[in-house]
Symmetry: D2
Subunit: 89 residues, 4 copies
């Protein structure tokens, strides 16, 4: 995982959330607050995808090439699970 990049983005999201707190305190227009919350969530999606990419290119490859079928199955199942959570609806 590219720690630096993920961390950098998470710090930006933290700043974004503080900005949204100020909007609420200053009684900004509700719809604008909702839009900013949405933008913060989209930024978090980017971080999730980045972390998953790192996971696929490291842990997953190790598990799939390894000799432990339980480990492989667990890793594949976890990926299916985060995908299912991501699809939500």
């Amino acid at each position: 995982m590219k720690h630096e990049e993920a961390l950098h983005r998470l710090k930006n999201v933290e700043g974004h959330i503080r900005g949204i707190q100020r909007m609420v305190e200053e009684d900004k227009y509700c719809i604008d607050v909702i839009r900013q919350i949405h933008a913060a969530q989209a930024a978090l999606n980017k971080v999730s995808t980045m972390i998953l990419e790192g996971h696929l290119n490291s842990c997953l490859i190790t598990a799939v090439r390894g000799d432990d079928p339980d480990d492989r199955e667990r890793v594949l199942q976890e990926i299916a699970d985060v995908f299912e959570t991501a699809t939500k609806v």
Copy 2:
């Protein structure tokens, strides 16, 4: 809008995001990081919905009962827009 409650939740999300930063710094398991990001997004959804409820019960009622058809149309269109963004997929 219930400012207090929304602010309180946003502060929790901010703390949550800082916790996720620590997980990344400490090289925690990728899938666990992704799950925590997901939980933070779910918390943000709660805040969005809460703010929308406040909006419906104040600005929307005022606009729909008011004499300005442009204003009413704008407010209704904004709600349809945030709904569309929320459905994403």
Copy 3:
């Protein structure tokens, strides 16, 4: 609600779903099937938003201007509920 337009789009989605069934029967590449499912869901989102717009411009206006506070509250709550479901995550 613009029935015609919504119906037309729903018929397209139905055809889309049948096309996806064929892809599965013909053993098409999994990722392509997933992408087509995703496209069908995006088309359904468009229909949802269209129907919500119609609802806001009819039932909602009637309820907000009407004399029944319970009815108004119910209609506003329903909109908050479908928004919450839409945000899912």
Copy 4:
């Protein structure tokens, strides 16, 4: 991929979409229509996840264990891509 199960679910979704068309034709309450569209989307998510699971347990394993680094990279990138699309927001 478990073709039978995926096909069976897709046929159910097709029937569901036709049922929604009838609701629109019969001028059923908008919010109920939106809820049914949402249920159809949730059913489609199940199919997507099922197909992804099949993909992980076949194509992915083959690609990761194979000798072609380009093929492996492509397969991993596709999974990251469908995850990103799924997170949407």
